[in-house]
């Protein structure tokens, strides 16, 4: 049972305050949000920081919920994804990880790179452009999630893709919220 101690040590050394692995639904989103909120409340976090973290968490979690049907259909655990919140002295780090196919990978890289090249005003213009022109997708998304995460955090979105084989990639996305 050493893995339990190892997991515990990993969480401590990486300053992770919440890790959820499994199926993602709206009900689970609400539970995860409630836990993270209570955690921040108990630590006496400032309300402006709490709101930003909450905001980024919602977009991140709802992204996973909306796209979980697209995960690897060959895997028995096709809905499985991971959501992590880390807290360091000067920042919160919100991370999600989920499988995507090659087509989704390319589209994600293009969209996130475009957002990462925009400054504050550019992001604002992009937000207004999307909200004016787009209708909701068939998954109910507004196509604004990444732009919003970049705006609220004021930081670049960091991502990574690990090859899972069979044409799938594990997409990790990290957003940092500074505690200034």
């Amino acid at each position: 049972m050493k893995y339990i101690y190892d997991l515990h040590k990993t969480m401590l050394s990486r300053n992770l305050i919440l890790v959820y692995e499994g199926e993602f639904t709206q009900e689970i989103t609400k539970s995860v949000l409630a836990m993270a909120e209570r955690n921040m409340d108990s630590m006496g976090e400032e309300s402006s920081i709490k709101r930003k973290v909450f905001n980024v968490m919602v977009e991140c979690l709802q992204n996973i919920v909306k796209h979980s049907d697209d995960f690897n259909p060959l895997s028995a655990k096709r809905n499985a994804a991971i959501f992590i919140i880390g807290k360091e002295d000067d920042r919160y780090v919100v991370t999600s990880g989920n499988p995507v196919d090659t087509e989704a990978k390319e589209s994600l890289i293009e969209r996130i790179d475009e957002i990462n090249h925009l400054d504050k005003e550019g992001l604002k213009a992009k937000y207004k452009e999307i909200i004016k022109s787009n209708s909701l997708s068939n998954k109910g998304g507004a196509g604004l999630g990444f732009v919003d995460m970049a705006r609220k955090s004021g930081q670049k979105l960091e991502y990574d893709f690990e090859d899972m084989g069979e044409g799938f990639h594990f997409f990790s996305l990290t957003t940092t919220i500074l505690r200034l």
Binding site: K30, A34, S48, R51, V58, Q62, I131, L136, G140, L144
Partner: protein, 120 residues
Amino acid sequence: MEIINLEGTEDTPKILLDKGNGIFEISGRSLPEDSAEFYQPILDWITAYGEDSNPETLFTFKLEYFNTASSKLILDVLSALEDIDGVTIDWYFHEDDEDMEEAGEEFSELVEIPFEFKTY
């Protein structure tokens, strides 16, 4: 006209639309799983209200938080209100919530309706 009176939940806002008493308010948190489905009855109500609206309509938004899918629907609500004469928006934000203030300013730039900004 019927009154829409929905209690707020952890992921849906409180909604009060009452033509007789002249109260029009959306408040709380908006992050429903399906924002289009949640807001459709509200959009329908506003369209019907526009057929025979009060001379003046003060519509209050007092949101603590909304997700991006809701922001699209909030713009749809504002666009529906834009077609009605005599509408003004009271946009409330918590005094230290710059993001909610900025969100209101952006909405005010997207529709031709007068906005008043107020803190709570």
